[in-house]
Symmetry: C2
Amino acid sequence: MHDTPQFSTRQRILGAAEELFAERGFAGASLRQVTSAAKVNLAAVNYHFGSKDNLIEEVFRRRLDELSRRRLERLAEIADEATLESVLDAFITPALELSLDRKGGSVFMRVLARAFAEHNTHLRKFLSENYGYVLKDFAAAFANLLPQLDKEELYWRLDIAVGALTYAMADFGVIQRRPGETERTHREQMARHLIHFTAAGLRA
Amino acid sequence: MHDTPQFSTRQRILGAAEELFAERGFAGASLRQVTSAAKVNLAAVNYHFGSKDNLIEEVFRRRLDELSRRRLERLAEIADEATLESVLDAFITPALELSLDRKGGSVFMRVLARAFAEHNTHLRKFLSENYGYVLKDFAAAFANLLPQLDKEELYWRLDIAVGALTYAMADFGVIQRRPGETERTHREQMARHLIHFTAAGLRA
DNA sequence: CTAGACTTCAAACGATTGTTTGAAACGGGC
DNA sequence: GCCCGTTTCAAACAATCGTTTGAAGTCTAG
């Protein structure tokens, strides 16, 4: 009997890959760095995932499946009392909770933002085909709340809104958590400002 | 006498590096790909720039020196009749013109957005040390126009605004140029929506 | 025309990349 | 006990990485 690893090889790889992809990018993080951080053998990646590209997709799938489910769940919950603020909250809060799920903070959201930065056709197609329906549902909810905007105007504003949300949730900005502040309250403040700012931009 | 290349070796390398960094990232674009695209010898990069890291910095310097100058120039021009919209315009329009400067479109703005995605300490320090004063000046202008906001509230909103601008100018969004539309009018529309949206978010 | 500085070139350096291999170790069912 | 599918392992694969080298080429000043 040995270390009795708390998590399976698959999970250890996914966790280490997520952190290293966030820190160094998909090309910048090598499989040797990943397997070394996960304390598994180098060949384990190709055994369990087939290739590095498949590992990248699996890193997204593991988080986005649940994130998408929770977002649509909250959107359904508020359906009859929807406001711009509550719909934005339905989109943001699940991401906020996800980013607080692990001690490291906003690791996965940084990976997700990298996926936007990569103009990688294959990756964008994968994300759009598998999770595009979430954005579609939210776009419909916003369309109901902003009947004065024509379709083109609405899409422009949603595009800008998604940009602000992505950028902020990935912690790209310059604002750092203040010393006396917990990670949770810092990010809750950010979410509050995000909702306020974006709602104003949408209905301007 | 041979090809009489229209541009110097240095310029060809910088141009090719910019495009490949935008497309594949800093780690993802190799010096062999860069020198091959620039049609220069592989060793030319280390001869003219010393290292790949120095080449990356030079790619930023070449564009940001002029971009910063133009932004502050426009900011000074509108000093006595400043509105949220005109200050945002002073920030956005120079970037818009830059992105239309070359046939490819928003190449450099995508590279700049990658610099945010890279959490790379060295790169962030370089950008902050060399171009941080631009953001400082604009922050001061916004502070004058939004006296009702305390410092912390203002910084949150500016952080979110910069996120929206960066994301949009880098063309991360899903909105594509419509077939019958020129690149110029497409990006001018984007700038118009950006200013409208962001101004509303700032004064909400 | 030649001397000398600047630039380009093909070739190679050791290190690192993603992936593959075949054998060793493991673990539950008989 | 043994068997067999699953998993892990060290080792090696060819390919590519950033960088260095020393010779060849180019150009201008005297």
